[in-house]
């Protein structure tokens, strides 16, 4: 404990960064998951093919590699583009925070695609047909009929995706984001107590994942409240 004095604030701000990455990537996960699932279920063959390639590619390659491709790839691309306009530029990159969040959002989004697809298939087709019979537009059917019914079915799987998303955020320190793993690295260099420092990181992650697990449990209870037997 004494070793940690003076590092609490760094860990705190590191944890805030982790939570910010988490927030951005969760939103992106939902967006990519919904788009992917809709594409997979659409009648358009090209859309189905693209969505299929997306899930295969992002689920089959290591997260670290995707992250490196996003970060260094975008850096090389942007640098070469800006050299055309400003010949004196040395290096341009998308900040690690954004390239990392986008990469993680797309990775977990590919898993969410499958979960959402299953959940959309679980919505009673009769309800969708009823909406059509009532003359409700496709977009409105999507948001007012399909989504309210599918999120309940998607929740258990999506909860797991959020946990793996949380754990993937640790990788962003490898491309230079100053989050808790990065703080532990610095603290180790000063105090020479690596075990203590990295263990703090593990415990911070453990507490965040615990909170996520509990939140999902509460949400599941809320989503299924109409199924509870009356007493």
């Amino acid at each position: 404990m004494a070793d940690l004095s003076g590092w609490w604030d760094d860990y705190f701000w590191g944890a805030v960064t982790v939570l910010r990455v988490f927030g951005v990537s969760v939103i992106l996960t939902v967006v990519f998951g919904l788009i992917g699932a809709s594409a997979k279920l659409s009648k358009n063959r090209i859309a189905r093919k693209i969505a299929g390639a997306y899930t295969v590619a992002f689920r089959g390659t290591p997260e670290l590699l995707v992250l490196l491709i996003f970060y260094y790839g975008s850096a090389v691309f942007l640098t070469s583009v800006s050299k055309i306009f400003f010949p004196e530029t040395q290096f341009v990159d998308i900040p690690p925070f954004w390239s990392g969040s986008i990469a993680i959002g797309m990775i977990v989004g590919s898993y969410a695609t499958e979960t959402f697809r299953g959940a959309f298939l679980g919505v009673d087709p009769g309800h969708v047909e009823a909406a059509r019979a009532l003359g409700i537009s496709n977009v409105q059917t999507f948001f007012y009929v399909r989504i309210p019914q599918m999120w309940r079915l998607a929740l258990p799987g999506f909860g797991n995706h959020m946990l793996s998303l949380m754990k993937d955020t640790a990788l962003i320190s490898l491309i230079g984001l100053e989050e808790i793993l990065f703080v532990a690295d610095m603290a180790t260099a000063v105090t020479l107590k690596p075990f203590t420092m990295y263990m703090v990181v593990a415990l911070i992650y453990l507490s965040i994942t615990t909170i996520i697990t509990l939140t999902v449990l509460i949400l599941e209870k809320y989503a299924n409240r109409h199924l509870e037997s009356a007493r």
């Binding site: 590699l65 995707v66 180790t188």
Partner: protein
């Protein structure tokens, strides 16, 4: 920006030198992880508090923290203690390969024990009772009735776990190990051609995951051949 095909063709043999380390890590960690996972499963379902509780805490810790952090705790963290450095395990733990294997093993064991527990809980009680009615001993019931069914139920989840293990081996490159990702990162550091190198590495991983997925699919069909007609 143009992709250099010659660079890709040049680097592929180099990258394939890393495949050995990747596969060694994968095979060692998944075999050891399976062993430890079975022990944890037995502790978890033993019905004795002092055995099941530690197994629960173990799985909770290793499933709740990132593998990267676990690797760092073991590789950078353990040498903090003199006991570790003076013990016989130091021969293993001073090498990045030993550390990576240990971290992946411990991590995989936690997931495997949960997967097997899922399979175990999925076995119908009737089979168990039938075994009891036939007068089978407790450990015979477990070995010959419950486990074969539980294993079959656990295969799909286990194949996912095996593939995420394959992907997790790429994290060994962060502790200076030259697995496929490690080799790719060195080449990129020399040539600064991230698209060419990383994407071709990704394709190699993709081929590997596809092969393993197919393999597990065949294995599952084999195990459940009695179910279909």
């Amino acid at each position: 920006m143009n992709l250099e095909i010659s660079l890709i063709l040049e680097s592929i043999p180099k990258m394939l030198t890393g495949i050995g380390v990747t596969l060694q890590l994968l095979v060692l960690a998944s075999l050891l992880g399976l062993g430890l996972g079975v022990i944890l499963l037995l502790m978890r379902i033993s019905g004795r508090r002092y055995l099941s509780f530690p197994a629960f805490i173990y799985a909770y810790f290793f499933r709740g923290t990132p593998i990267l952090v676990q690797i760092f705790v073991i590789y950078h963290g353990l040498p903090q203690f003199d006991i570790v450095r003076e013990s016989v395990f130091w021969i293993l733990l001073r090498e990045p390969f030993g550390c990576a294997t240990l971290a992946l093993t411990l991590n995989s064991a936690a997931y495997v024990s949960e997967i097997l527990r899922g399979g175990y809980l999925g076995v119908e009680r009737g089979f168990h009772e039938a075994g009891m009615a036939l007068g089978l001993k407790k450990h015979h019931r477990f070995l010959y009735v419950t486990m074969p069914i539980a294993i079959r139920l656990a295969i799909p989840a286990y194949s996912n776990e095996f593939i995420s293990m394959l992907k997790a081996t790429s994290l060994a490159s962060t502790i200076t190990l030259l697995d496929m990702t490690g080799v790719a990162r060195t080449i990129v550091a020399q040539t600064f051609a991230p698209y060419e190198i990383f994407i071709s590495t990704a394709v190699i991983y993709l081929v590997m995951t596809t092969i393993f997925q197919r393999g597990f699919g065949i294995f599952e069909k084999l195990m459940s051949r009695h179910v279909k007609q």
